[in-house]
């Protein structure tokens, strides 16, 4: 089944071709960036890591400490970057340790390919891996089991010419989750690919094709974002569950039944849509105004924003909306693309493979004290 809402395509663009200009799919492939005792660009899944010297004490590598250790990094590399990955590795692994590189396409937890890194004494190792199908985002996991010592100095992953992968068995991208790129519906776990054949010849997996498929108590709107390498998923959302300030697609998603830009794209649940929704003399305006970089998008509309006029119990999106200067609610943190976030790790990476900012903008679901 195909649907093609144009607004979804706009979100998909932000996830295309996200590797750095040199084609490297991984940030800090040399384990050179350390934040205290931990790696800045890699996440420790299990066990522990330590900073150790490699060819020179000024060029560190990472030692996987323990009998069961794993580190991972979610890369935005996508099929628009290429379909052949070349891995170059330098490591020093004792024979009593086994280190594997696992490939998790889409980062959804299913391992599509696993490669054992041979025991080596800093000897460079290179291998190619083709990826079949449309994909977006790969989680790379380096795991070690065994008592032996394993020090990793380099794990480069580059997109190279497809011809280099001709003779290798591919990792197959399938059952793409909502928000992942797709070409046809069968690429997606939901069987729905929106936007395929459009101007970018790429679509996005969605969970619903229209309100009718969601039943009477729900609508086809924006679900919670699941991965920074995927767009905000389109799926069935129960009516009226979203608070003031949350991201929405349709009015029905919001408890206030007001979603800015309803039906046109990404919006925010608001307490007013026009001045008529406000008390006499008050205007309906942008709750958070502008940042140093311009208008924040999306943001909710509230009555008399930032004027300290709100009486107790009045809906508010920031402390400045209330006469008491206290707006009770949940802190609203948002990525540059409008999705909610807890940390920068929840936000899509920029062209330098660095996570975008997760910025506190105001209050979600607030009411004046």
């Amino acid at each position: 089944m195909r649907v093609s809402p144009l607004f979804i395509a706009a979100l998909a663009v932000s996830q295309m071709g996200a590797t750095d200009c040199g084609g490297n799919a991984l940030r800090d492939p040399g384990f050179d960036l350390w934040c205290g005792d931990g790696l800045c660009a890699w996440k420790v899944e299990r066990g522990d890591v330590a900073k150790v010297s490699t060819w020179n004490q000024g060029d560190p590598g990472v030692e996987l400490v323990g009998d069961d250790v794993a580190i991972e990094q979610l890369s935005p590399v996508a099929s628009s970057d290429g379909s052949c990955l070349e891995f170059s590795m330098i490591a020093n692994i004792e024979s009593t340790a086994q280190v594997t590189l696992a490939i998790d396409i889409f980062g959804d937890g299913s391992i599509e390919h696993s490669e054992t890194i041979p025991t080596s004494n800093w000897a460079p190792l290179t291998f190619e891996l083709p990826i079949q199908g449309v994909y977006g985002g790969i989680r790379f996991e380096l795991a070690k089991v065994g008592t032996g010592k394993a020090v990793l100095a380099q794990i480069g992953a580059r997109v190279v010419d497809r011809a280099k992968c001709d003779h290798f068995a591919p990792a197959i991208a399938s059952n793409a989750p909502n928000g992942a790129p797709c070409a046809v519906g069968t690429d997606c776990a939901s069987g729905l690919c929106a936007g395929d054949g459009g101007i970018f010849d790429i679509g996005t997996c969605i969970g619903c094709a229209g309100d009718a498929s969601c039943g009477s108590d729900a609508s086809c709107g924006y679900g919670p974002p699941e991965s920074p390498v995927r767009t905000i998923p389109t799926e069935c959302v129960a009516n009226g569950v979203k608070e003031l300030g949350e991201t929405c697609l349709k009015n029905l998603e919001c408890a206030s039944h007001i979603c800015t830009a309803a039906g046109y794209g990404l919006g925010a649940c608001s307490s007013c849509g026009t001045d008529a929704d406000c008390a006499s003399g008050e205007s309906c305006g942008l709750a958070w105004g502008e940042s140093a970089f311009g208008v924040i998008f999306p943001q909710p509309l509230v009555c008399a924003p930032l004027q300290h006029l709100g009486s107790p119990g009045t809906a508010c999106a920031s402390n400045e909306d209330c006469a008491s200067s206290v707006c009770n609610g949940t802190e609203r943190k948002q990525c540059d693309d409008g999705r909610s976030c807890a940390t920068a790790a929840n936000c899509p990476v920029n062209s330098n493979l660095k996570s975008g900012a997760c910025t506190t903008l105001g209050v979600q679901g607030g009411s004046c004290q």
């Binding site: 750095d20 040399g30 050179d32 660009a41 010297s53 020179n56 000024g58 060029d59 380099q154 493979l353």
Partner: protein, 533 residues
């Protein structure tokens, strides 16, 4: 073949004696040479010294000694023509005229070289003979420079003395040549003069007065110059230089060339003094006499009044005597000194020491160490590896030298950009080597070009500085072996020289933590500058 200093033609015109006599001299010096000839150092100074002896001791008045430095052929022709007119006037007046002609400079087979132009020998002879003097003494000095001991007349000349004799037989001839036909004549850095002119002048100052009559005849001057020149040149790189003399004088007895007895000042070497004696003018620091004084008879050397330093070497004894001319050396007041190291070596090493600075560029060698850097994601900056070398050498002899070499090499940095961060890791490194060196050098032309090859070996200290992604720096130093093989060519202009050099260097000092060793260096080319003393 006759080369070099071609000294002299002596020509007597057997004109009936008339009184009084009249003396004229033309003294010519020209340091510059023609195409392919190096610049001489002392030809013009020799001419001035000859003029001084002629006026002091030869009976020539200053106004009749025409000193000409580096003239053109036309200028010399003009001066000879002017002299001819004066001689003719004196001859008509009934005077017996004596002409002395001296030339020191370059010559080729059939001409003397006056800068880039030539004056044919045939023309010079003709012009001299046409002057019409009663007695004409001609001294020609043709020369070129060499690498160590400047060589006069390196382009072998025709047998000037012989051919001259044939041409002059009809009127009576006296021929004295500075060297035999197959020899080259030489300048001396130590004497700051040509060997022949120096010893001829010393002889004229009195050292050549064999019969002690207070006059130095042309025969005495020749014998003295012959022996002293041969002794002085026997150990040079070019070899012994034999002065020849042929004379045919009609109606005359001995011909005096100088009159030391009449000099206003003399230095008397006492009868008991024995050894090689060197007299130096303390004011000008020039050597005015160098002779071997035999024990048994006093020798008087005519000099200008003033203060002198006299060095006497007899075996391994060296005495220094200070005195004022006129006077006799008081041996009791002379001071004994240790022989300088150079004098024990003998020979004619112009410059014992050689200091050299090299600035060399090239690509740094790639090996396992740098391959590993590439594996770790580093890339070499596209710049040259630069080396600064300092070399100090002491000569064994004219070919071999030994000494020390210090090389400082700055290798191109290697950088590794950290993906996903505005940071990079950088390796900066350098190498300092201190080595013992042996050099073989040899002249490839007569214009001061020297080719050399040098091998050096010693210790190297390698330094690395790794700047990590968090801007921390890690410095290490390593010690290892080092070598350098150098080939070069340089143009040596007396003390100063410049050149081009190729060098292959290596040092096994720098290594990494995983067992790779870098041989610092590689092929380099560049420039050299040196100073010899």
């Amino acid at each position: 073949m006759r080369a070099g200093w071609i000294a002299l033609v002596m020509f007597w015109c057997t004109v009936a004696h008339a009184e009084p006599s009249s003396n004229y001299a033309i003294v010519v010096g020209s340091n510059s040479g023609g195409p392919g000839q190096g610049t001489l150092h002392y030809a013009e100074d020799d001419a001035r010294r000859m003029a001084a002896v002629l006026t002091e001791l030869g009976g020539y008045t200053v106004d009749r000694v025409d000193v000409i430095a580096h003239p053109s052929p036309d200028q010399l022709r003009d001066r000879l023509a002017q002299l001819a007119k004066r001689v003719q006037r004196d001859t008509v007046a009934g005077k017996q005229v004596r002409v002395f002609f001296y030339y020191s400079g370059h010559a080729r087979a059939q001409a003397i070289d006056l800068g880039s132009a030539e004056l044919p020998l045939d023309e010079l002879r003709e012009r001299l003979f046409k002057i019409g003097a009663s007695l004409t003494v001609v001294v020609l000095d043709a020369c070129q420079s060499g690498a160590f001991s400047r060589i006069k007349g390196a382009a072998p000349a025709a047998d000037f003395s012989y051919s001259s004799r044939q041409r002059l037989d009809a009127t009576g001839v006296a021929v004295m040549a500075s060297s035999s036909g197959s020899e080259l004549s030489q300048e001396s850095e130590q004497l700051k003069s040509s060997y022949f002119t120096h010893h001829l002048l010393v002889g004229l100052r009195g050292a050549g007065d064999a019969n002690n009559d207070g006059e130095v005849s042309i025969d005495e001057a020749y014998r003295y110059a012959y022996h002293q020149t041969l002794l002085a040149t026997a150990e040079t790189a070019v070899g012994g230089q034999h002065v020849t003399f042929e004379a045919e004088l009609r109606g005359h007895g001995e011909v005096p060339l100088s009159f030391p007895r009449a000099a206003t000042a003399q230095i008397t070497l006492p009868a008991q003094l024995e050894g090689k004696t060197l007299v130096e003018d303390r004011r000008s620091h020039t050597v005015v006499a160098e002779t071997y004084k035999a024990k048994g008879a006093a020798v008087r050397i005519a000099v200008a009044p003033g203060d002198y330093e006299v060095l006497v070497r007899n075996g391994d004894q060296l005495s220094r005597c200070s005195m004022t001319a006129p006077g006799e050396i008081d041996l009791a007041r002379c001071k004994s000194e240790a022989l300088a190291d150079e004098t024990a070596k003998g020979g004619e090493l112009h410059h014992l020491w050689h200091l050299e600075a090299d600035l060399l560029f090239g690509n740094e060698r790639h090996d396992g160490y740098t391959n590993n850097l590439a594996n770790f994601g580093y890339a070499e900056k596209p710049t040259f590896s630069a080396g600064l070398g300092l070399t100090g050498l002491r000569r064994f002899d004219n070919i071999f030298s030994y000494g020390v070499v210090a090389n400082l090499k700055a290798m191109p940095s290697w950088t590794h950009a950290v993906t996903g961060a505005a940071a990079s890791q950088t390796l900066d490194w350098n190498e300092t080597d201190l080595m013992a060196a042996l050099r073989v050098a040899y002249g490839v032309a007569d214009d001061g070009f020297v080719m050399y090859t040098q091998l050096a070996g010693g210790a190297g200290i390698g330094g690395t500085k790794v700047t990590s992604a968090d801007a921390m720096t890690y410095r290490d130093h390593y010690l290892g072996w080092a070598y350098a093989a150098t080939f070069g060519i340089r143009l040596q202009l007396d003390h100063f020289g410049i050149g081009l050099a190729y060098e292959n260097t290596g040092s096994t000092a720098i290594h990494d933590l995983i067992g790779n060793t870098h041989s610092s260096g590689g092929d380099r080319w560049g420039f050299t500058a040196d100073w010899e003393f």
